[in-house]
Amino acid sequence: MDFVTFLIQVLNGVQYGFTLFLVASGLTLIFGIMGIINLAHGAFYMIGAYICFWLFGITDSLLVAIMAGIPIMFVFGYAIERLAISVLYKRDHLYQVLMTYGLILILNEMQKILWGSDFYSVPIPEVLSGSIPMGNQEYPVYRLFVSLVCMVVAAGMYVVIGKTKLGMMIRAGASNREMVQALGINISRVFAVVFSLGAALAGFSGMIDAPLSSVYPGMGNYILIISFVVIVIGGIGSVKGAFVGAMLVGLADTFGKVLVPEFSSMVIYALMALVLLWRPQGLFGRVT
Amino acid sequence: MSQPLLSTHALNKSFGGLVAVDDVSIDFEAAKVHAIIGPNGAGKTTLINLLSGDLPPTGGAITFKEHDLTPKKAYAISQLGIGRSYQKTNIFADFTCLQNCWLGAQSRMRTSMRFFRPAKAYNEVRARAERALELCGLTERMDTVASAMSYGEQRQLEIGMMLATEPELLLLDEPLAGMGTDESRQVVALIKRLAKDHTVVLIEHDMDAVFAVADVLTVMVNGRVLATGNPEEIRANSQVQDAYLGTGEEEAT
């Protein structure tokens, strides 16, 4: 591999890492604050992509579709939290795994009832289509744009977590519910909002990925498992960890494919095992 | 002064930026009741947690007889003959009293990696568990599920479980916490009985009880040792009076 190609592969890894971060951050947020394992997060990602496709069909504009889609996902997340998730707070992780597993089944079938099992696509907006030359090849503009958006979201989260009341609660962690309540905060409302935000974030990832990946049934399954790997590596509940984990996984996956294609799909799992061997709570996880 | 049974040397524990136990060196002599007192947040429970291995120290050393406890895990420390009770009742709520004590008693078998013979058939374990129940006064309640008992009884069970491991040294973390007068009196009597053939390290807020049972007292404030001495010395110590007994007590409890 010559140096230019190497750099481009690094870019590929980082770029992939950004898209993973977007999905993983919502997952880690939900766990960090609420202590809920949400297996349906991948299904939210898929639903987001389908909503984007649907709204794009109506509005003919990706921007409008996404702007309208985010509140829909937020409301959708809110409804799910009230109807299903809210009974799980005092229950064992086991039941969270099961219930959200049940949600996956339901959401997948709902998707099929609403949109059928065809696959669709959302075109890349004119201004962002095309590619720019880079070394011996060209790089798609939209991918760079997605990275940029992810960076903005990451920066936004950094600010929110560092400067706001919500962020303070995230830093305090779910383990210290008494403290949060002592601050006079209605915890059940916070949970509902956080869950909805997580759902919106997952949906947003699906929407912004839709032009890249096309929209198809089961598109959330793969991303779910890999997002879990990301947040376990980074430390569950830590947004900073999710960022670092996403970058590591993105790079490991990219270079695994190029350098050890025979074992490429095992590379990230091996990475995860190694990290956990060194730090069982993940890179930035709290010791419980 | 005889060789101490347990001693800490420049022991340290910090959580992030917060130093909970700061450069603590204490000798605990055999066959004595050694009480540790101090206001809330003085680091007493953290100290117990370090001694029992529930928490690893950040710095310093702990020695028990010839053993260096510093790197040891809680189970290994228990196996050396140090038992502890918890300030917050920490029992198996769904188990009966006998089952609660059974596990402690069973831990003194060479190993519990035994898969076929029913646990019930191990008579020596049963004997140990029943003795522990008798000591803590719960023989009658042997088959009662722990969660169905009164708070005071659960506190007694807390001590019983520890006794089932037949420890040589007892770490008692506020055994009287939340108890009524009658119940307190019973537990104080129990501690006195245990003190005859055990070494006891006691954390307690109830000063009457402390001065009634303790041979030696250590006063801790802000993670540090303020003074150590017999009850008379401590009572007479002006620093202690200033820092704790005099003005601080109402706030502390």
Binding site: S117, S131, N136, Y139, S213 | -
Partner: protein, 402 residues
């Protein structure tokens, strides 16, 4: 569904009563008598849930439509369909197959889509003489290769068939080197190998074979690799959502205009709209093209659209031809499908002249001998360019019957 079951039970009861009667009279050979009265049982094991439900539905719909058009009877006997959702699950395949064979006692077993399930079914079929299995999709070479058996037929294709001519085509169009890329699973590996072999017959050489774990759709690293390798062309096999994403990524990486892309027809089948301009101009080879100009195809497409409100696709063609094959065989034995050996004899030598994909015939290994067409996507539509390979027969390596 439950209604179906009731009527099924009803038929069985009727048949049983008839059996008693006939046995008592004992004038007519009982086998034929039952055959004349009782419905023929057609078991279907296809995916109806999950990602591949579309395939299962297309096949089932078209097959039933074909039989319905012929009067809804086979060899004069009514038909009783028993459909089981394969869930695309190999672990459940033995049980599902046994359910149809042992419990439902079907005469014909139609399925599956997934080649792992096909292998599991073929294994069970290989150990018994009845029923007769018809594969309406799964392309695994093994089914009509090492696993071939007298009672296993296929109406679709072998993975070798649509891929090999694609490789030859690349050579014919003057390319010397290529990169092959696919998912690392049965169909992907077999198609990649066939394409490479076809390319090799023209003196072409694959400089790198890239296999991604199924169903990973993160292609970017490999596209950068391809850009760095600069081959003359790329031979790719993906399908469904993965195919759409690959085409779009390939275009976005600026490769589409520099390094022409080829592949088996599944690469662009059904994704024309979703892929948009990314699919435009890509040449593929397949045993069907939607704008094939023959009477059967026009009628089939019109009927299908009218009946189901959706365009017919290659899978529905395969289902349709499965129906044709069943009708032919049942008619030839006068409805006596219990005479398995006779049915097999008929099917073995059968020709399907009125298929939407053009006429085809059954090979000795029980796989269609069929034309492979050269197609190109233009303006979101498949355009037929011609025949890439005429009456192509799978080499059926490892089949003892061939």
């Amino acid at each position: 569904m439950s209604k179906n079951n009731k009527s099924r039970r009803h038929f069985i009861a009727g048949a049983a009563a008839t059996t008693g009667l006939v046995a008592a009279s004992s004038f007519i050979p009982s086998r034929f008598a039952i055959g004349a009265m009782a419905p023929i049982k057609v078991g279907i094991l296809l995916p109806y849930s999950g990602t591949y439900a579309m395939l299962g539905n297309s096949i089932t719909n078209a097959m039933k439509m074909r039989i319905e058009q012929a009067g809804g009877r086979m060899g004069g006997r009514p038909i009783d369909y028993v459909a089981v959702d394969s869930e695309m699950s190999v672990p459940k395949a033995p049980q599902n197959t046994n359910k149809l064979i042992q419990k439902e006692k079907v005469d014909f077993l139609v399925g599956p889509v997934h080649s792992g399930i096909a292998a599991a079914m073929a294994k069970i079929m290989g150990q018994r003489k009845t029923p007769i299995m018809i594969v309406p999709n799964a392309g695994s070479n093994a089914v009509t290769g090492p696993l071939c058996a007298p009672n296993i037929f296929r109406t679709s294709f072998s993975n070798w068939q649509p891929a090999y001519p694609g490789g030859v085509l690349m050579g014919k169009e003057g390319h010397k080197t290529c990169v092959t890329i696919s998912w690392k699973y049965g169909a992907g590996i077999q198609m990649m190998a066939a394409g490479r072999d076809g390319f090799a017959t023209t003196g072409g050489k694959s400089v790198k074979d890239i296999l991604l774990p199924f169903p990973n759709v993160e292609f970017q690293a490999h596209l950068s690799e391809i850009a760095a390798l600069k081959p003359d062309c790329v031979f790719a096999f993906f399908s469904g959502g993965g195919a759409t994403k690959f085409l779009k990524d390939y275009e976005a990486a600026g490769l589409k205009d520099k390094i022409p892309l080829y592949g088996p027809g599944f690469l662009t089948e059904g994704v024309e709209k979703a892929a948009g301009s990314a699919a435009d101009g890509i040449k593929t080879t397949l045993h069907y093209a939607s704008n094939l100009d023959n009477q059967a195809n026009h009628k089939f497409r019109a009927d299908y659209e009218a009946a189901f409100g959706a365009s017919a696709n290659v899978f529905s063609v395969q289902g349709y031809d499965t129906g044709s094959l069943l009708l032919q065989a049942a008619a030839a034995v006068g409805g006596d499908v219990e005479a398995t050996a006779d049915v097999i004899n008929v099917m073995e030598t059968s020709k399907v002249p009125d298929s939407p994909r053009g006429p085809w015939a059954m090979s000795k290994a029980h796989n269609p001998i069929q034309n492979i067409y050269l197609r190109q996507v233009a303006d979101g539509q498949q355009k037929l360019l011609g025949i890439a390979a005429e009456a192509l027969e799978d080499p059926a390596a490892g089949c003892k019957m061939a």
